[in-house]
Amino acid sequence: MSVITIFSGTFCNTEAVMKALVSDTGRKLMTDRDIVERAALLSGIAGSKIERVFSPRASVFNKFTHEKERSIAYLRLAMAKTLSEDNLVISGFSGQLIPREIHHVLHVCLIAELKFRVQRAIKALNVSESEAVKLIAGQEEARAAWIKALWGKADPWDAKLYDMVLPTDKKDVNALSATIVEHADSSVVRTSARSMKAVDDFMLAAQVEVELVHEGHQVGVSSKNGVVALTINKHVLMLNRLESDLKTIASKVPGVQKVETRVGPGFHQADIYRKQDFNMPSKILLVDDEREFVQTLSERLLMREMGSAIAYDGESALEVAREDEPDVMILDLKMPGIDGMEVLRRVKATQPQIEVIILTGHGSEADKETCMKLGAFAYLQKPVDVEELSATIKLANEKIQRSRASR
């Protein structure tokens, strides 16, 4: 027997695939809600609080409360206990907590082209195209943050993270279900003594992590045959003290035979926290009436961990600028209605802190001069290399950080 996990983008028709999968195989479906409920029972923390770990925004108080780490530790424990059952389909974020050493778990990723997803979102929610794009971008950000936190990968749809990545816009539901079932039934993915041992190790590591988190410690925990390895991933001067404290706590957990400690890369990184702040994805607004171009651009930026909103004309660009102040605006000059130059003029007059990057296919040298005089941050010509654009955005972001710091 085996377990299947499904991690997917929103509006990828995942629900239908899961339904087919469950009815084809008689497997039991477990969702994030089920796992959260179990974690809530184990921990006594409210489910609504635990759920927050799936959102990329940590509470500003987390530094002191460690609520997020506590919740994740209990989610791992709940997941380890869940794996004592077999024949499951686990959908959502929590399936990603399972270590890849447990080989009777088949990790499936379902994803589709952005265009397909936007169309489905428009139909399902009866919203405008730009609203749908914005919604999906936000949901995508949450998935990217989760994968980044667990596996350190920037792209949540990286094929290396999964046993199979399936495009839901290119195959029909039954074919998808059949492909998954075929792989899940293969001998490679079957429960074995070795994989059950890996489940025991997962459980032991989760129990140790819960104990450590209770005492206020945050370290990486893994286990192999009862030997627990703790990874300290931030700089600590009194390392020996910390190591002996951690060992004392961990070795009290029943089943732990030996505890080893080591330092991870974060221990040596001098200014890891500051670095994170600098790389914070800024709020970017893309303004261009060429829909195809601007959607592709948005997708590419997302792959570089920069979430962006889209406006297709000058009026809506000004509206977004007023209501949801972006950090950076990437602006085309030639648009029907209020053109780019006018948008630039008005934005710089009322919200000079917004950095505007002009990206145009039609501009002349004179246009460039005018734009720079009006306060544009940079002037780029189409077609633009995404690397060049993201480097420019980064520079704009650094300027914003500097001016915020000096305020």
Binding site: H235, L237, M238, L239, N240, R241, S244, D245, H268, A270
Partner: protein
């Protein structure tokens, strides 16, 4: 007083007052009254000189504490805690410049990239905290101190007492007014609760 000692004293003063980055070897030579070449004869560079100061600091702390223990008698561990708080504050005023040096950011920053600094600084903090830990362990043995983690409690008391030293160094407040309260607060934290 040897030349080497002179250099160490002058360096301690400059590093404590001006900081690691702002202190130049030329200035140091002037204050110590030796030629720059003499300093380089004893110490390869500024880092090594700084390390030598920290190492002798640690040795002196250990020596001071063992001397103190030999002359003092305690009825119980809880009393020893009050005594070591007193001892710590006394030591901090005796070695004022070196404590000031310890309270600066410099050594901690160097410890992040330099293994020797890390080991040295860790050893200093270890022996400072050990002073409190020994008292707590003694108190748990004789029953005057209740059930707690001696390591953690030692660190908490250390932060309180060392905080007093910082208060004094930077003239934040008249520390004399806080001393009694800190001692009483520590006793209250540690005392065995008799039901």
């Amino acid at each position: 007083m040897t030349r080497k000692n002179n250099i160490l004293l002058a360096a301690t003063h400059l590093l404590a007052v001006k900081g690691f980055k702002e202190t130049s070897m030329a200035e140091l030579a002037k204050v110590a009254g030796v030629a720059q070449g003499t300093i380089f004869y004893h110490y390869k560079n500024k880092e090594e000189l700084f390390l030598a100061i920290l190492r002798s600091f640690q040795e002196d702390i250990v020596a001071e504490f063992s001397r103190h223990r030999q002359t003092q008698q305690f009825d119980c561990g809880l009393q020893m805690v009050a005594d070591v708080i007193d001892f710590y504050l006394h030591m901090a005023s005796q070695m004022e410049e070196r404590f000031m040096l310890l309270h600066r950011h410099d050594a901690h920053e160097l410890a992040r990239s330099n293994a020797d600094f890390h080991a040295c600084l860790e050893a200093i903090y270890d022996c400072l905290i050990d002073i409190f830990e020994q008292a707590i362990l003694l108190g748990q043995k004789d029953g005057s101190i209740g059930d707690c983690s001696p390591r953690r409690m030692a660190m908490i008391i250390f932060t309180m007492v060392d905080g007093l030293v910082r208060f004094h160094t930077y003239n934040l407040y008249d520390v004399g007014g806080l001393y009694e309260d800190v001692v009483r607060a520590c006793e209250a934290m540690l005392k065995k609760n008799i039901p």
